[in-house]
């Protein structure tokens, strides 16, 4: 202690050096924080870009599915109008299904049985038409499940995994279910009339799930402009 008191030269230099170290540290911290802030902003922008890219693809898929099932609805309506349920064989429909449909037709309860037949044919055509989408969507999965061998309890889902071109690690899983259609059908013996009984949706979106694959880091982590190993 005595030695230090005897010589106090350079004390201000020590103070100044200390002050400069503090200021440089604060400056470096401030720049790093600002840089991280900017990086996060860019990440947010990129995430939004990926979101809209996937939404775009999802919208096109929904439209394709809707077009196919709308076509199926038309085919089913034509089937009823042309009284194809009375025929033994109908082109485009397997005999086994045609037999099932014919069995459903009840002369004593024409209107209700025709509504049921309409849905059965509609679901059958939907399955067939949706399979055509497989060519366009490689990762799609058209699933039909029969419950108790009853075609009216058939569950048809179209499932697809969409990949973003902006970030290959981000995927969107979209699952749509074909819903039954609701028509009031009347057969007066000469002509069959059918009207949509209520507003209905032909499909229901069961899953719309975006997720990101875990990123595998390389040996180095990019930090600011340098590379830390």
């Amino acid at each position: 202690m005595k030695i230090m008191r005897e010589n106090e030269k350079g004390a201000t230099s020590v103070l100044i050096i200390f002050m400069m170290i503090v200021l440089v540290s604060l400056g470096a911290f401030s720049i790093t924080a600002a840089n991280v802030n900017y990086k996060f902003s860019k990440e947010v922008m990129k995430h939004n870009k990926v979101y809209y890219d996937l939404e775009q693809k999802a919208n096109i898929f929904i439209m394709d599915v809707d077009n196919e099932i709308e076509k199926s609805e038309d085919q089913a309506v034509d089937y009823i109008k042309e009284k194809k349920y009375e025929q033994e064989q109908v082109s485009g429909i397997p005999n086994a299904i045609q037999i099932l449909i014919r069995e459903k037709y009840d002369i004593n309860n024409k209107n209700n049985s025709l509504s049921e037949i309409l849905n059965e044919v509609y679901l059958y055509y939907s399955t067939q038409n949706l399979l055509e989408l497989k060519e366009k969507y490689q990762d799609s999965n058209i699933v039909t499940s029969l419950e108790e061998n009853d075609i009216t309890k058939e569950k048809i889902t179209a499932e697809v995994i969409l990949k973003s071109e902006i970030d290959v690690n981000v995927n969107l899983k979209l699952k749509m279910r074909v819903m039954p259609i609701s028509y009031d059908i009347t057969d007066d013996g000469h002509r069959i009339n059918g009207e949509k009984s209520e507003e209905f949706s032909r499909y229901k979106i069961e899953e719309y799930n975006e997720w990101k694959l875990p990123v595998e880091y390389e040996n180095g982590i990019e930090l600011w402009e340098g590379l830390v190993k």
Partner: protein
């Protein structure tokens, strides 16, 4: 007699210290200025992202192409309606304050000088490959499926070289079923 040692700093020490501090603090201040600029850049990017996404979502809510024109959002902006396109342009200053302008100013290239950001929204239904005509009920009534292409981008007018650069650019499509719109 022991001479009492004087405490404190000499004048020379103080002058040298202040000079050193003044010299070095110039560089240190630069660090803070750079960090402030980077923070402003981040803020601009955040605001631009938010404005672009908001405008896309706003236009996604409307069902009919014609309804877009009635949106309050378009007030103070320049709205150009072409055959199958709606183009909205809005101008902002460096603090994201809205700058009113007219179509005449835009065409004559006499826009205010303090414009820093330009928001462009284009709603396009003209792309023929996006039309999926589903069916024709009768001769007069067509029910097409339409995808609207909505693009919102914000340009950053760089002060240094007066070059327009994209700050953000989002594109999405909106699927809607339009009724009664005649298709070629």
């Amino acid at each position: 007699m022991i001479k009492k040692k004087k405490k404190g700093f000499s004048l020379a020490e103080v002058i040298i210290s202040i000079a050193t501090l003044a010299f070095v603090s110039g560089f240190i201040l630069q660090m803070f200025i750079v960090s402030e600029k980077v923070n402003k850049k981040a803020l601009d990017l955040d605001v631009a992202t938010s404005m672009a996404t908001n405008s896309i979502e706003l236009f996604m809510q409307e069902d009919d192409f014609e309804d877009y024109v009635a949106l309050d959002f378009l007030q103070k902006g320049i709205v150009q309606i072409q055959k199958d396109k709606l183009i909205v342009t809005k101008f902002y200053d460096k603090n994201w304050g809205m700058i009113e302008s007219t179509l005449e100013q835009l065409t004559e290239n006499k826009l205010p000088e303090n414009i820093k950001f330009v928001l462009n929204i284009t709603i396009d239904k003209s792309k023929e490959n996006l039309y999926y005509v589903s069916k024709t009920n009768n001769e007069n009534h067509i029910e097409p499926n339409i995808l609207f292409n909505i693009n919102a981008n914000i340009l950053n007018i760089l002060e240094e070289d007066i070059v327009k650069a994209d700050l953000v650019d989002f594109t999405t499509v909106k699927y809607c079923k339009a009724k009664g719109i005649p298709i070629k």
